[in-house]
Symmetry: C3
Subunit: 329 residues, 3 copies
């Protein structure tokens, strides 16, 4: 609790659970433990006032509320984002052969296309973003899949870390034409931060131009680099989700930096909420508060008109996502 997110939970979530703002951490924890998770979600999710949810189910999805149930709690439609590496791992443990892996993955992806709004890659966690940008050959994929599958057969982890297979599934995501989310910037301890700088993706962005929208997720502390890429490449957009909840009272600084070079048609709201209902609420409220603070200062100083600010807020809050991911089907 000795973090910005801890302070923000006690500040913003506590009153919604019937406690004073800034309640001591122990009291918050006591109240929280006395409530069922679903009851907490029933209070906090609607308060986040989300119009539409895009949910990545690829990380411990089996333990979590389904997108449909999450949407029902939030009172908004929810669509799924398919994590490419998780699908590859499902295929790998299904008994497929090295020669059959590529086709099996393609079939599995095809079977999911009707139900998803986009794909997502966590290649930043597996080999970093400074990977060879080209699509690997079929022979290279078969050989690499063979090594990976043999490892699994000998009792190794199914976790996909082979750079060739990772690039194969990434390019399969590109080929769908659906928006491709790429995790960049900070994350968990298995990530090397300096290898998650989105500017390392430049060569990959050059060769994917015109093929599918690419959405750079999180990006902290490289939000300025991401903004540069969003300005340079027509098909690139970005968000500062995750950083907003975790930097709490400082979120407006990160939001401000994301609004330097990036066109306002390329910056997206994201809560990156995961697991705790509190993260959905904070992702929304802190982003609203931070964006209002940043743009409000521009209007106050006369640099921006209120009309321009209102239009940009509308785009960032939902318009850009609707354009990129399409309206709810």
């Amino acid at each position: 609790m000795d973090t910005q997110v801890g302070v923000a939970v006690r500040r913003w979530c506590a009153p919604l659970l019937g406690l004073p703002a800034h309640v001591p951490a122990a009291e918050y924890a006591a109240r929280r433990l006395a409530m069922r998770n679903e009851d907490v979600a029933r209070v906090l999710l609607p308060a986040a006032r989300l119009a539409h949810l895009l949910v990545d189910t690829g990380y411990r999805g089996g333990e979590l509320t389904s997108p449909e149930a999450l949407g029902a709690l939030a009172g908004a439609p929810a669509r799924t984002i398919l994590r490419l590496e998780s699908l590859a791992e499902e295929v790998a443990v299904s008994g497929v052969s090295a020669a059959g892996f590529a086709t099996a993955f393609g079939d599995a992806l095809q079977a999911r296309l009707g139900g998803i709004a986009g794909t997502k890659s966590v290649i930043a966690y597996r080999v970093g973003l400074d990977f060879d940008p080209g699509e690997p050959t079929a022979a290279a994929v078969e050989a690499a899949a063979g090594r990976w599958l043999s490892g699994i057969a000998s009792g190794g982890r199914a976790r996909l870390v082979d750079p060739v297979v990772l690039r194969f599934v990434l390019w399969q995501g590109v080929a769908t034409g659906l928006p491709l989310q790429v995790h960049t910037g900070f994350g968990d301890t298995d990530l090397d931060l300096h290898r998650s700088d989105p500017s390392l993706l430049t060569s990959f962005l050059r060769v994917t131009a015109g093929r599918c929208p690419v959405v750079l997720l999180h990006t902290y502390p490289y939000q300025r680099q991401a903004g540069y890429l969003a300005q340079m490449f027509e098909h690139v957009a970005m968000d500062v989700g995750l950083a907003v909840s975790f930097t709490g009272a400082r979120a407006s600084h990160d939001i401000g930096e994301s609004l330097e070079l990036a066109p306002f048609t390329k910056v997206l709201f994201s809560s990156d909420g995961w697991g705790l209902p509190e993260l959905h609420l904070l992702g929304s409220w802190l982003f609203r508060r931070g964006l209002a603070r940043v743009m409000g200062a521009w209007v106050d100083s006369g640099d921006w008109s209120m009309a321009d600010a209102e239009r940009a807020v509308g785009l960032i809050a939902s318009g850009n996502a609707e354009r990129i991911y399409g309206p709810v089907g």
Copy 2:
């Protein structure tokens, strides 16, 4: 127009063209298209209140207003900055042999020395700033020039991307003793942002100490790194041109970061105006506004005296450039 620079154009340039501040983009575009470019320049350039222009003619210079004509429009003397790679490309297509390239380049550079205020390198765009810092041998230059010239003879592009020839022309620039501008930080899509971090130049700065002033241009989003280099190396100065226009209402944040470590004797105003007259105006007005905001806050809080702020503003606005580039001849 959905960018900070688009908002800033409608905010600051529109009133000078007889339109309301924050005019809708379509109206601004209509007014702009109804005017001759030169008439727009006649309004916006004098309003930029420039005392002296330093103009790089190396990028599509033939399509642009000459430095002399630009200076006449702005009501200020203008001097030329010679782009080393462009001169090398002129020499390369002139029919020179590999053995004769180095001498021909040296002669061409010598012939231009009387008319220029400094040289400039865009090596960041060609191979990145993490190049071998030493001066290449004559034999290496001849061999590399031979490969480049053969390519051109076989119908290849004249664009100089050979790292050895790039280093040769860079060192020829150093040998003039004139200020050497080095593009760092953001630019166009042919640049890998992470390879344009000016701190990658550290080894080059160590070996050029005492030989010529080095001015790190633009530097965004690495303005703090550039400030560190300006503090560490006597011969290094910097600017945040380009970023100022393109980050608009956020420019003061970037200006502030450039004023952390860099001595005030090493930070230079730059508009990086190119092409559109609007960029000359915004480069000047947004820099004035941003610098006033940043230093004004220091004076308000008592951290700085007004006298110190006025002196630093004078140095940054023109004094440092006069010292580094010399007065108008």
Copy 3:
């Protein structure tokens, strides 16, 4: 004097030496030269209001006031931080053999353990932070020490730059279990800034988890990267010392960035004062002022409660250091 630190000296130190705030630089210099260094220290050090000093004696320590004398001037207990590379250099010039180096270093370290509060590495200056993170083998250390000692015997500098020996002494520091300070971020001209990014230490931090506290020093301009590491790794803490004095009126920006991801239990005050008594005063006053400004804004906006801010200030100012380094013996 044309720097933030120069302005800050004239603003904050001048009144303590009987001069007006913002006195011209020449008058400050004249007053300073008319005083004995020790008399200046007698005024400025107590004014810094330090409760406890941790002093690295490894850089030109023989020319400087001893920790004990410094503590007496400041009116506070002082403990020593042992610079590992300096101890290795002492051992190397003592006549030890390659085969005996490792044992001799271990003995020398053991002999110092009773009198120190922690160890420190400046490996960032010597080979950068992107070193092989593992502990080298005894055979590799002996071979590397042999090359180093032969160089010294042939008249070479004793300065330790061999990556294997550097890693050996670093791991010896880890093995003490005492807090290990690692210089990261900016420093002098013999440092390549981009190789001092603390995120380059990620692999080293993974393998040292649970072995000793690691304190990332200075970290500028990578304070956000350091904050990320402090959040991710239980044994990692950080400071923004050095940057605070050198960025003067801008210090609050750097302090603010250090308080985004890092838990408040992992951020430490540091003056990084060295040599001039002014740096001890500025390190303290500018940090107090910057922290108050940053946290005060959070309290004013209602994001934080005053009680939370007061608790975090207490931790950052001294509580965290007491927990990590232990109380004065």
